[in-house]
Amino acid sequence: MTNEANGKTFLTLFLVMVIVTLVIAFAIAIWVPGEPTLKLRLAITYGLLILVFLFGFVILAAIASGKIDVSQLLEEETGGASTSRFQLLIFTFVIGLSFVLIVACNCSFPEVPANVLALLGISASTYGVSKGIQAGTKNGSSTTTTSTTTPPTAQTPTGTTKT
Protein backbone atom coordinates (compact mmCIF):
# COMPACT_ATOMS: atom_id res chain seq x y z
CA MET A 1 0.00 0.00 0.00
CA THR A 2 1.35 3.46 -0.88
CA ASN A 3 1.98 6.23 1.62
CA GLU A 4 -0.94 8.23 0.21
CA ALA A 5 -3.35 5.32 0.66
CA ASN A 6 -2.00 4.75 4.18
CA GLY A 7 -2.52 8.43 4.97
CA LYS A 8 -6.14 8.32 3.78
CA THR A 9 -6.81 5.18 5.81
CA PHE A 10 -5.38 6.76 8.97
CA LEU A 11 -7.32 10.00 8.39
CA THR A 12 -10.57 8.05 8.02
CA LEU A 13 -9.82 6.05 11.16
CA PHE A 14 -8.98 9.24 13.04
CA LEU A 15 -12.32 10.83 12.07
CA VAL A 16 -14.22 7.67 13.05
CA MET A 17 -12.45 7.60 16.42
CA VAL A 18 -13.25 11.25 17.14
CA ILE A 19 -16.90 10.73 16.19
CA VAL A 20 -17.19 7.59 18.39
CA THR A 21 -15.62 9.49 21.29
CA LEU A 22 -17.98 12.44 20.89
CA VAL A 23 -21.05 10.16 20.68
CA ILE A 24 -20.04 8.34 23.88
CA ALA A 25 -19.30 11.62 25.68
CA PHE A 26 -22.68 13.06 24.67
CA ALA A 27 -24.46 9.84 25.67
CA ILE A 28 -22.89 10.04 29.13
CA ALA A 29 -23.66 13.73 29.46
CA ILE A 30 -27.32 13.22 28.51
CA TRP A 31 -28.37 9.87 30.02
CA VAL A 32 -26.18 9.33 33.09
CA PRO A 33 -27.97 10.59 36.22
CA GLY A 34 -26.28 13.08 38.55
CA GLU A 35 -25.25 16.70 38.89
CA PRO A 36 -24.28 18.59 35.72
CA THR A 37 -20.65 19.13 36.83
CA LEU A 38 -20.23 15.43 37.62
CA LYS A 39 -21.77 14.47 34.28
CA LEU A 40 -19.42 16.86 32.47
CA ARG A 41 -16.39 15.41 34.29
CA LEU A 42 -17.46 11.85 33.49
CA ALA A 43 -18.14 12.67 29.85
CA ILE A 44 -14.69 14.29 29.38
CA THR A 45 -12.87 11.53 31.28
CA TYR A 46 -14.53 8.64 29.46
CA GLY A 47 -14.19 10.46 26.14
CA LEU A 48 -10.44 11.00 26.59
CA LEU A 49 -9.87 7.46 27.84
CA ILE A 50 -11.66 5.97 24.84
CA LEU A 51 -9.89 8.31 22.40
CA VAL A 52 -6.43 7.44 23.80
CA PHE A 53 -7.25 3.74 23.69
CA LEU A 54 -8.46 3.92 20.08
CA PHE A 55 -5.36 5.90 19.02
CA GLY A 56 -3.09 3.37 20.74
CA PHE A 57 -4.99 0.42 19.30
CA VAL A 58 -4.78 1.75 15.74
CA ILE A 59 -1.02 2.34 16.11
CA LEU A 60 -0.49 -1.14 17.57
CA ALA A 61 -2.56 -2.73 14.82
CA ALA A 62 -0.54 -0.85 12.20
CA ILE A 63 2.74 -2.03 13.77
CA ALA A 64 1.50 -5.62 13.97
CA SER A 65 0.26 -5.67 10.37
CA GLY A 66 3.44 -4.02 9.08
CA LYS A 67 1.84 -0.75 7.91
CA ILE A 68 4.16 0.98 10.37
CA ASP A 69 7.52 -0.59 9.58
CA VAL A 70 9.65 -1.27 12.67
CA SER A 71 11.96 -3.78 11.00
CA GLN A 72 14.83 -1.27 11.05
CA LEU A 73 14.36 -0.38 14.72
CA LEU A 74 17.76 -1.82 15.67
CA GLU A 75 19.41 -1.62 12.28
CA GLU A 76 22.39 0.43 11.25
CA GLU A 77 23.23 1.89 7.85
CA THR A 78 25.41 -1.15 7.12
CA GLY A 79 22.51 -3.53 7.81
CA GLY A 80 23.62 -5.13 11.10
CA ALA A 81 21.92 -4.71 14.46
CA SER A 82 23.31 -2.11 16.85
CA THR A 83 24.26 -3.04 20.43
CA SER A 84 23.70 0.47 21.77
CA ARG A 85 20.22 0.64 20.26
CA PHE A 86 19.41 -2.81 21.65
CA GLN A 87 20.48 -1.95 25.20
CA LEU A 88 18.50 1.31 25.05
CA LEU A 89 15.45 -0.72 23.96
CA ILE A 90 15.96 -3.19 26.81
CA PHE A 91 16.12 -0.42 29.43
CA THR A 92 13.10 1.32 27.97
CA PHE A 93 11.22 -1.99 28.29
CA VAL A 94 12.42 -2.61 31.84
CA ILE A 95 11.67 0.87 33.18
CA GLY A 96 8.36 1.05 31.27
CA LEU A 97 7.13 -2.29 32.63
CA SER A 98 8.31 -1.40 36.14
CA PHE A 99 6.46 1.90 35.96
CA VAL A 100 3.20 0.21 34.93
CA LEU A 101 3.53 -2.41 37.68
CA ILE A 102 4.22 0.21 40.37
CA VAL A 103 1.42 2.53 39.25
CA ALA A 104 -0.98 -0.42 39.08
CA CYS A 105 -0.05 -1.47 42.61
CA ASN A 106 -0.15 1.97 44.24
CA CYS A 107 -2.70 3.78 42.08
CA SER A 108 -0.44 6.84 42.33
CA PHE A 109 2.48 8.36 40.48
CA PRO A 110 5.70 6.90 41.97
CA GLU A 111 8.83 8.84 42.89
CA VAL A 112 11.66 8.07 40.49
CA PRO A 113 14.95 7.54 42.37
CA ALA A 114 18.12 9.23 41.14
CA ASN A 115 19.84 5.93 40.39
CA VAL A 116 17.08 4.91 37.98
CA LEU A 117 17.62 8.17 36.14
CA ALA A 118 21.37 7.48 36.23
CA LEU A 119 20.78 4.05 34.68
CA LEU A 120 18.68 5.51 31.88
CA GLY A 121 21.18 8.36 31.48
CA ILE A 122 24.12 5.97 31.11
CA SER A 123 22.17 3.90 28.59
CA ALA A 124 21.14 6.91 26.50
CA SER A 125 24.62 8.49 26.76
CA THR A 126 26.18 5.28 25.46
CA TYR A 127 23.95 5.47 22.42
CA GLY A 128 24.78 9.17 21.94
CA VAL A 129 28.56 8.72 22.30
CA SER A 130 28.42 5.72 20.00
CA LYS A 131 26.73 7.88 17.39
CA GLY A 132 29.44 10.50 17.98
CA ILE A 133 32.18 7.95 17.31
CA GLN A 134 30.35 6.93 14.16
CA ALA A 135 30.18 10.56 13.02
CA GLY A 136 33.88 10.95 13.84
CA THR A 137 34.63 7.95 11.65
CA LYS A 138 32.73 9.55 8.81
CA ASN A 139 34.84 12.71 9.04
CA GLY A 140 38.02 10.69 9.54
CA SER A 141 37.24 8.54 6.54
CA SER A 142 36.65 11.60 4.37
CA THR A 143 40.09 12.90 5.34
CA THR A 144 41.65 9.50 4.75
CA THR A 145 40.13 9.11 1.32
CA THR A 146 41.72 12.31 0.10
CA SER A 147 45.17 11.17 1.18
CA THR A 148 45.08 7.62 -0.18
CA THR A 149 45.10 6.33 -3.73
CA THR A 150 42.06 4.08 -3.39
CA PRO A 151 39.71 4.47 -6.38
CA PRO A 152 36.56 6.53 -5.62
CA THR A 153 34.22 3.65 -6.52
CA ALA A 154 35.65 1.60 -3.67
CA GLN A 155 35.01 4.30 -1.08
CA THR A 156 31.22 4.46 -1.13
CA PRO A 157 30.63 2.68 2.21
CA THR A 158 32.95 4.98 4.20
CA GLY A 159 31.53 6.25 7.44
CA THR A 160 28.81 3.63 7.59
CA THR A 161 30.08 1.79 10.63
CA LYS A 162 27.92 0.17 13.24
CA THR A 163 27.03 1.71 16.55
Binding site: L42, Y46, L49, V52, F53, G56, F57, L60, I63, A64, V70, S71, L73, L74, E75, T78, G79, G80, A81, T83, F86, Q87, I90, F91, F93, V94, L97, S98, V100, L101, I102, A104, C105, N106, C107, P110, E111, V112, P113, N115, V116, A118, L119, I122, S123, S125, T126, S130, I133, G136, T137, G140, S141, T144, T150, A154, Q155, P157, T161, K162
Partner: protein, 120 residues
Protein backbone atom coordinates in the same frame (compact mmCIF):
# COMPACT_ATOMS: atom_id res chain seq x y z
CA UNK B 1 -15.58 7.38 39.43
CA UNK B 2 -14.11 4.10 40.61
CA UNK B 3 -14.96 2.48 37.27
CA UNK B 4 -12.99 5.22 35.47
CA UNK B 5 -9.84 4.31 37.44
CA UNK B 6 -10.31 0.61 36.67
CA UNK B 7 -10.87 1.38 33.00
CA UNK B 8 -7.74 3.58 32.83
CA UNK B 9 -5.72 0.86 34.57
CA UNK B 10 -6.74 -1.91 32.18
CA UNK B 11 -6.41 0.38 29.21
CA UNK B 12 -2.80 1.28 30.01
CA UNK B 13 -1.97 -2.36 30.76
CA UNK B 14 -3.49 -3.48 27.45
CA UNK B 15 -1.72 -0.83 25.37
CA UNK B 16 1.71 -1.24 26.98
CA UNK B 17 1.55 -5.03 27.09
CA UNK B 18 0.41 -5.01 23.47
CA UNK B 19 3.29 -2.76 22.43
CA UNK B 20 5.92 -4.79 24.27
CA UNK B 21 4.33 -8.04 23.08
CA UNK B 22 4.35 -7.01 19.42
CA UNK B 23 7.97 -5.85 19.58
CA UNK B 24 9.01 -9.01 21.42
CA UNK B 25 7.21 -11.18 18.87
CA UNK B 26 8.86 -9.32 15.98
CA UNK B 27 12.26 -9.80 17.64
CA UNK B 28 11.57 -13.53 18.07
CA UNK B 29 10.35 -14.08 14.51
CA UNK B 30 13.19 -12.07 13.00
CA UNK B 31 11.02 -9.26 11.63
CA UNK B 32 13.34 -7.01 13.63
CA UNK B 33 16.68 -8.64 12.72
CA UNK B 34 19.36 -9.12 15.37
CA UNK B 35 22.02 -10.41 12.99
CA UNK B 36 25.39 -8.77 13.47
CA UNK B 37 24.53 -7.69 17.01
CA UNK B 38 27.90 -8.85 18.30
CA UNK B 39 29.94 -7.81 15.27
CA UNK B 40 31.94 -4.60 15.44
CA UNK B 41 33.73 -2.63 12.76
CA UNK B 42 37.52 -2.60 12.88
CA UNK B 43 39.82 -0.25 10.99
CA UNK B 44 41.41 -2.36 8.28
CA UNK B 45 43.69 -0.62 5.75
CA UNK B 46 43.85 -3.83 3.68
CA UNK B 47 40.10 -3.70 3.04
CA UNK B 48 38.70 -1.63 0.18
CA UNK B 49 36.11 -0.09 2.47
CA UNK B 50 38.69 0.78 5.11
CA UNK B 51 36.82 -1.30 7.71
CA UNK B 52 36.11 -4.96 8.28
CA UNK B 53 33.52 -6.58 10.54
CA UNK B 54 34.65 -8.89 13.37
CA UNK B 55 33.15 -10.38 16.51
CA UNK B 56 33.56 -7.90 19.35
CA UNK B 57 34.26 -8.86 22.97
CA UNK B 58 33.24 -5.37 24.09
CA UNK B 59 29.80 -5.81 22.57
CA UNK B 60 29.39 -9.26 24.13
CA UNK B 61 30.25 -8.04 27.64
CA UNK B 62 28.08 -4.93 27.23
CA UNK B 63 25.13 -7.08 26.19
CA UNK B 64 25.68 -9.52 29.06
CA UNK B 65 25.88 -6.77 31.69
CA UNK B 66 22.84 -5.00 30.20
CA UNK B 67 20.74 -8.19 30.29
CA UNK B 68 21.92 -8.94 33.83
CA UNK B 69 21.10 -5.45 35.16
CA UNK B 70 17.77 -5.36 33.31
CA UNK B 71 16.65 -8.75 34.62
CA UNK B 72 17.87 -7.98 38.14
CA UNK B 73 15.92 -4.73 38.15
CA UNK B 74 12.75 -6.33 36.80
CA UNK B 75 12.94 -9.09 39.44
CA UNK B 76 13.30 -6.46 42.18
CA UNK B 77 10.19 -4.67 40.91
CA UNK B 78 8.20 -7.92 40.69
CA UNK B 79 9.33 -8.79 44.23
CA UNK B 80 8.22 -5.43 45.63
CA UNK B 81 5.96 -3.53 43.22
CA UNK B 82 5.28 -0.71 45.70
CA UNK B 83 8.16 1.55 44.65
CA UNK B 84 11.09 1.78 42.26
CA UNK B 85 13.88 -0.32 43.80
CA UNK B 86 17.06 1.35 44.96
CA UNK B 87 19.98 0.28 42.82
CA UNK B 88 23.23 -0.39 44.70
CA UNK B 89 26.04 1.93 43.66
CA UNK B 90 28.13 -1.11 42.71
CA UNK B 91 25.62 -2.16 40.05
CA UNK B 92 25.38 1.37 38.62
CA UNK B 93 29.19 1.52 38.66
CA UNK B 94 29.52 -1.87 36.98
CA UNK B 95 27.01 -0.87 34.32
CA UNK B 96 28.77 2.45 33.69
CA UNK B 97 32.15 0.67 33.55
CA UNK B 98 30.81 -1.88 31.08
CA UNK B 99 29.45 0.83 28.80
CA UNK B 100 32.70 2.80 29.08
CA UNK B 101 34.66 -0.32 28.16
CA UNK B 102 32.42 -0.92 25.16
CA UNK B 103 32.75 2.68 23.96
CA UNK B 104 36.51 2.71 24.56
CA UNK B 105 36.95 -0.53 22.66
CA UNK B 106 34.79 0.72 19.84
CA UNK B 107 36.70 4.00 19.55
CA UNK B 108 40.02 2.14 19.64
CA UNK B 109 39.03 -0.42 16.99
CA UNK B 110 37.57 2.21 14.68
CA UNK B 111 40.23 4.90 15.01
CA UNK B 112 43.35 2.79 15.68
CA UNK B 113 42.55 -0.74 14.50
CA UNK B 114 42.84 -4.05 16.36
CA UNK B 115 44.86 -4.14 19.56
CA UNK B 116 46.96 -7.11 18.40
CA UNK B 117 47.94 -5.15 15.27
CA UNK B 118 48.92 -2.17 17.39
CA UNK B 119 51.12 -4.30 19.63
CA UNK B 120 52.99 -5.93 16.73
Amino acid sequence: MRFVVTLAYWESIALLAGFFGILFWKLLTGDIPLSGLLDGDVRDPASLEGFSSRASVGRAQSLTVTLFVGLWYLLQVIHNPREFPQLPATIVGAFAGSQALYLGGKAQSIFLGRLRDLLK
